[in-house]
Symmetry: C2
Subunit: 110 residues, 2 copies
DNA sequence: AATATTGTTCGTAATTTTACGAACAACAAA
DNA sequence: TTTGTTGTTCGTAAAATTACGAACAATATT
């Protein structure tokens, strides 16, 4: 008993909203798409793809990291970023169940 | 020729980010879940579900409407809201293709 | 005409987001 | 030790978000 404790997923609004919020900017979508098309890459590679300052790129990366969608690893003097596989799949699951939740319908208006 | 013009979908970052941004707040997720579980309902029903002022609810509904995820229809003196089916499916498609886009991978770091 | 119901809009305040240059930190190379 | 490379952090400014009460609009009802 309790053997599935670490598998339990609560599809709470806060978690889904946090994932969605992190995806709520074109630049961050671009970063995620870029990282999702690779195994990993360095900060500089990401910065090269974008027409914005490194400070802003770093800021967007921090938000994606805080939301759990990506992770960074120091490889002095560079920093390697990649998709956080576990949370990426969790997010995918959240969005999937969310968009499929309209199957059962009913009227609430009289 | 050109017969599929109205079917073409561009999976651009701006559109996906706009959908995501609209979903980037727990209250709006709650509203969407509620509407998705029904065929439609009135503003008052939505307001009843939430512990916030009607002004704020109205504001959130406006954002969801602007993002295209829901639609409102006046049924004097009430206002009936429902999921915008077309855009809901479009959003679903956008998120699906986004999360599946990591299939093909490559290295960018040397 | 006065009153009640239903939501939107207005005005406002506090917070968050977005973006940038400059300064900084950590390390490698000259 | 000085210089160069790579990114983060700081400070700041402008804009957007979030939330609320009050006022308003539109329509029924009394």
């Amino acid at each position: 008993m309790d053997s599935c404790k670490n598998k339990e997923i609560t599809f709470d609004n806060e978690t889904l909203a946090r994932f969605a919020k992190a995806m709520g900017h074109p630049t961050r979508i671009e970063i995620l798409r870029f990282l999702a098309s690779l195994d990993s890459c360095y900060f500089g590679d990401i910065h090269n793809e974008l027409p914005i300052s490194k400070a802003t790129v770093s800021q967007h990366l921090k938000e994606l990291k805080d939301a759990g969608l990506i992770q960074g690893e120091i490889e002095t003097p560079k920093v390697k970023y990649c998709i956080n596989q576990e949370n990426w799949e969790k997010a995918q699951l959240y969005f999937e169940q969310f968009f499929h939740s309209q199957q059962v319908k009913a009227f609430c208006c009289k």
